[in-house]
Symmetry: C2
Subunit: 282 residues, 2 copies
């Protein structure tokens, strides 16, 4: 095969919160995480294999003898209270950038603002943030269109606080803020999109414009990884989301001269290196 | 000349605040207004002629024997204090929709937010609002471009409160809110554009799309009138801003089949009626 130029995105991979959570997990061998610590199955398997750090999805089934780690995405307020009541040995690996929207949600709902969250209602981070809302139920919307639909149903109040899932698109967040500014008397816009996510998105966008094929490495259940795939797809025709080097297909590279690589915030460097090595072998 | 169809905008002319100010002025004959009560020279001349209500631009030259009316656009905090210290007989005709941004400016600046005002720094309303800012100087910007320039100069802080002049474009205000949402950690967006202004703008826009010529009636020093002219010009090639029927030019109407009419928030009905009558005479 002809030689292919491989370029890494300027910013990619591990964010501060993920790096911190992995360090916490490694420092607490044989503990259990309530839910997946980060959205990367390979890294979770490594933590279990090398450090005995397991995953338990059901709070009722957690072994009372084990130390408990709170996942990067945070958990629901009630679950945290339950663990504390039981006297569990808790280490909180919730990303500080996720704690912020939880606190904003609590404070602004107490002050009488309607909470609108730009995010996926089913994502653990958003389930956690929602649980901090007091006296009301936040409106969770996943697009500008669903916000407009809520408006049509008169579901938007005049005093609103807008929060974002940390891994959402900054562009759409701005459009949502713009729309709310036109229909509410006050909108408190809290840009809770994390910088690492934003930087990774920007770098993926500019790299995708330059190359013929883009490889996005990350968990298929990872929001920010999927967002990198979506952004790349807007600018590059041939984008592939893979969890590791074994999913690479040599045929993707036939006749291509340039390949860009980026990775989600929960993708460890060792996986990216294996992907790079495999592409060079082709 | 062939027959021309004349259509009035669905919403046009006097807003609540202007109507209220004129009623106040009429109920206080022989008083003096600090600055122009509203931005319409013809109506101001009528109030002077029929009610002896004069205008004084300089607070130091106000006749101490006269009752003082505060203009719809409001005045600066210091000027109000001066009048009160002198024991002047004050009637406040400041539009309630202008008092709101004054209050927001005071409150949010006290709470440590940087105040950004979308408006004309030279307009009396904005001079008034700015004067209510405590401990800091608001950033007054008149366009998205000037906001971007301020950003380049690192003049935007991370916690911002955004206010609008009551008569500004809702569309640009939304774009400004969107831009700030992308660069600040918190933006409190207060949509202080008055509904009447917004309705007049919407109606002018849809009428301008339908007709061959648009007549905008209002003071040439009136912000909201100029905005109606600007919006109409985007959709209709032949737009004319006039203060009264004497400025109408028969040649504008030659060969035209439809004419739209709108008027600023400070344009009294009696002027609009004279304009309509003159067009029918053509």
């Amino acid at each position: 095969m002809q030689k292919i130029e491989v370029k890494l995105a300027k910013n990619y991979g591990f964010c501060f919160g993920v790096r911190r959570a992995i360090e916490i997990a490694q420092s607490r061998p044989n503990s259990v995480v309530l839910g997946e610590l980060i959205h990367n199955p390979k890294e979770i398997a490594r933590l279990e294999r090398d450090f005995g750090v397991g995953v338990c999805e059901d709070i009722e089934k957690i072994d009372p003898a084990k130390a408990v780690i709170i996942r990067t995405h945070g958990i629901q307020k009630n679950d945290l209270s339950k663990l504390k009541e039981r006297g569990a040995d808790i280490t909180d690996a919730t990303c500080p950038f996720v704690i912020k929207p939880q606190e904003i949600c609590a404070k602004c709902s107490r002050e009488g603002y309607e909470i609108i969250i730009f995010g996926d209602a089913a994502h653990p981070e958003i389930k956690g943030v929602v649980s901090y809302c007091e006296n009301s139920t936040p409106l969770v919307i996943n697009s500008l269109e669903s916000l407009k639909a809520a408006k049509e149903q008169n579901k938007i109040k005049s005093k609103v606080a807008l929060i974002s899932q940390t891994t959402k698109s900054a562009e759409v967040f701005g459009q949502i803020a713009e729309f709310l500014s036109g229909i509410c008397s006050e909108v408190r816009v809290f840009n809770t999109i994390c910088n690492a996510t934003f930087d990774n998105q920007q770098s993926a966008r500019s790299l995708a414009k330059e190359v013929e094929i883009m490889i996005i490495v990350g968990g298929k259940n990872s929001s920010n990884t999927k967002m990198l795939y979506k952004i790349s797809s807007e600018f590059c025709e041939n984008c592939y989301l893979i969890e590791d080097e074994n999913e690479l297909n040599v045929e993707w590279f036939v006749g291509k001269k340039s390949c860009g690589i980026t990775a989600g915030a929960s993708t460890p460097e060792w996986i990216i290196e294996k992907v790079l090595k495999r592409i060079k072998e082709f």
